[in-house]
């Protein structure tokens, strides 16, 4: 029945649908930062080599990625907004959250640093300096993990940034936001992975980094089959297990751009 | 006055927006006869022909065709300006025959016969719309002929043509007639009416004023309107 229906549909919708089901694959809803940084291009072939499972990554903002999983359109989520992830699991959408790795956020801005953020001691101080100087700030504004982290930083600095004339909400991915920031130019909060692989930097450089609050942890969650019975539990679990295994962790650590490591393994041993 | 009645118009009336364009028009077309409908512009000639061919439904009266249902008399129509498909001469003929429900080999045989008869063979592969006006009207005649009609209706078939093309068309029509085809046509060319008409209907403001054998009509028109119409010609 299902086969017949699928054949009919693939006949109607063109020849494209059949090969889609020909091999084992899982769908992973992840973030633009992991995709744009090239991490998946490095680790997925290793995983496929070992297990024969193809991982299809949909790169979205964290909020959208979790929504995709909630709708049952992904088997695994691999994102970086701890609070939202925990809520996702608590609501029963996900089975369990595992720490996988972290990278850190950095503040980038024009090289001449009009807000003097290079002199700041903490991230909150740097954000205060940006607000006080009136220099422009480009925000993702897309409910992504990076955006959530940025909102927290404004909060800790005691500033309502949204709605300010110098606050540009781009409503787009990390790369698009960096493109905007390079053009304006403006300050922006970026994840180090995207920044390192980003080529259109223009006048931008890192103006603040290293505060512990900029720590950006990534978690992986298998979607709960009780909510969506079609979730590919075996294959999805295999991917989760591999990511937090010694082999997967090594693969993550090994990924470098220009000799710089982008992500640091953090799975509990 | 021989032959079966192929088509009979019975008390045809036509109204558009409250204006009567045809009133009480009745006449017959018999097999093998040539009928010419004359009358000034706006008399309703073209409308009457379209009603006779079933393109327009009359408001009153009806058109009765011979042997309807069993062996319907076949009818074809040629317009003042033929509309050709954006295809080759041969494909235009083939399309018309396909609409008659003919099979492939039959269509092919008839196409070739029509191309041959109307001297269109050298043009067979050309785009029909790229032909001259005279050639297109010849093709229109070939297309009508190929469907083997018993009755051919022609609405001013030569009014847009030069004398040489007109001559070719008239010769063809006389041949059709000799082969037993009935003709009903309108024209403003009184010379043509004399050459082709066996019988004349004079139509004025939607009404038939005279139905007369052609020689009688031209020598002694009865109605004042017809006399005026013919006199108009004398002024030229």
């Amino acid at each position: 029945m299902t086969l017949l229906r699928r054949l009919t549909v693939s006949f109607v919708l063109g020849f494209a649908a059949l090969p889609a089901s020909a091999e084992t694959f899982i769908t992973v809803a992840s973030t633009t930062s992991t995709e744009n940084s090239g991490l998946f291009g490095h680790i997925l072939p290793i995983f496929k080599e070992k297990t024969g499972i193809e991982v299809r990554v949909i790169a979205q903002g964290t909020g959208q990625a979790l929504e995709t999983a909630r709708r049952g359109d992904a088997d695994v989520v691999f994102v970086h907004a701890r609070g939202q992830e925990e809520k996702f699991v608590a609501e029963g959408w996900g089975v369990q959250r595992f720490d996988v790795m972290y990278n850190d956020f950095i503040l980038v801005g024009p090289a001449e640093d009009p807000a003097k953020t290079k002199a700041a001691a903490t991230a909150a101080e740097a954000f205060k300096a940006v607000a006080a100087s009136g220099a422009k700030f480009a925000s993702r504004g897309d409910d992504s993990g990076t955006h959530v982290a940025e909102k927290k930083l404004w909060e800790s600095a005691g500033i309502t940034a949204e709605g300010q004339p110098w606050y540009l909400s781009t409503g787009s991915g990390m790369g698009a936001t960096l493109n905007t920031a390079a053009q304006v130019p403006a300050y922006a909060l970026a994840d180090r992975g995207t920044w390192l692989s980003f080529e259109n930097r223009g006048p931008l450089e890192i103006t603040f980094e290293g505060d512990k609050v900029l720590f950006n942890p990534y978690g992986v969650i298998l979607v709960n089959k009780e909510k969506h019975p079609h979730v590919k539990v075996t294959e999805g679990q295999a991917f989760v297990d591999w990511l937090i295994s010694a082999e997967g962790q090594a693969a993550i650590a090994e990924y470098k751009i220009n000799g710089q490591q982008l992500f640091f393994p953090s799975a509990a041993k | 006055m021989s032959g079966d009645c192929l088509l009979r118009a019975e008390n045809i009336g036509f109204e558009a927006r409250g204006v009567a364009l045809l009133r009480g028009v009745s006449f017959e077309v018999r097999a093998g006869r040539r009928l010419v409908i004359l009358g000034p512009n706006g008399a309703g000639k073209s409308l009457l022909l379209r009603i006779c061919h079933g393109l327009i439904a009359p408001s009153q009266g009806r058109v009765v065709r011979a042997g309807e249902g069993v062996r319907a008399a076949r009818q074809a129509m040629v317009f003042q300006r033929p509309v050709m498909l954006r295809r080759s001469v041969r494909a235009n003929l083939d399309h018309a025959l396909a609409l008659q429900g003919l099979s492939g080999p039959d269509r092919k045989a008839r196409c070739e016969a029509a191309l041959e008869r109307f001297g269109l063979m050298p043009l067979a592969g050309r785009g029909a719309r790229l032909l001259s006006g005279g050639e297109q009207q010849r093709l229109a005649l070939a297309r009508a002929w190929a469907t083997r009609p018993d009755l051919l209706i022609l609405d001013e078939p030569t009014s847009a043509l030069d004398p040489a093309s007109t001559r070719l068309i008239e010769d063809s029509l006389l041949q059709f007639s000799a082969e037993g085809m009935a003709l009903v046509m309108t024209t403003h060319d009184l010379g043509q009416a004399r050459r082709l008409g066996e019988e004349v209907i004079f139509l004025d403001r939607g009404q038939i004023l005279e139905t007369t054998p052609a020689p009688a009509f031209f020598s002694a028109p009865v109605s004042r309107e017809a006399r005026g119409y013919l006199a108009g010609e004398l002024l030229w």
């Binding site: 699928r6 299809r56 049952g72 359109d73 493109n179 080529e199 | 509309v83 609409l99």
Partner: protein, 232 residues
Amino acid sequence: MSDTAIITAFSLIAEADPALVQVIGLSLRVSLSAIVLACLIALPLGAALALSRFPGRGGVIVICNALMGLPPVVAGLLIYLLLSRSGPLGSLELLFTPAAMIAAQTVLVVPIILSLTRSMIEELWGEYEEQLRSLGSGRLRAVPTLLWDGRVGLLTGILAGFGRASAEVGAVLIVGGNIAGHTRTMTTAITLETNRGNLAMAVALGIILLSIVLGLNALAFGLTQWSRRRMG
């Protein structure tokens, strides 16, 4: 920058980079399938709309014309909600597959081809009606005749549809997911490269996409010119 883009474009083509070939192949496969499907739907429907008379016909025409401006993202979202596991057609497992992208592009292209077919056939029928009816053709029988005789104009409409389908990014991104090696098309790859800040690569892909569309248009133009010269 643009120099690097052009050099990048040529070296990509020269190397016949397998990933690039795959992306181009998928783009063409998706857009061409969508066009074929859209034609199968829109040509007969457009002709039927042109030749039929029914109450509310004007409204249908206005809606079709308006749908030509349907934002791709909205079309994508509709298909997404339909094909999502939580949607009515979720069990077909079509989301994030090329089939879903074909469906989205078809939805975008159908109104274009339908509207152009409708106006084109209506005009042609005005010209042909009396002649065709005098030859014994009814409206239904006239449909293939009119479609064939309108082929030159229809081809232009179909090309416009192909342009919209192949240039479109919002809808295929949503329903395809831009999965590397699986649902990544020229346009979603361009978006990705832009987001990576790899503008030279993005422009290079843009140049290739433009060349393909240009080539197809040149081909169609030549075909219509030839057809006009031959058949008027």
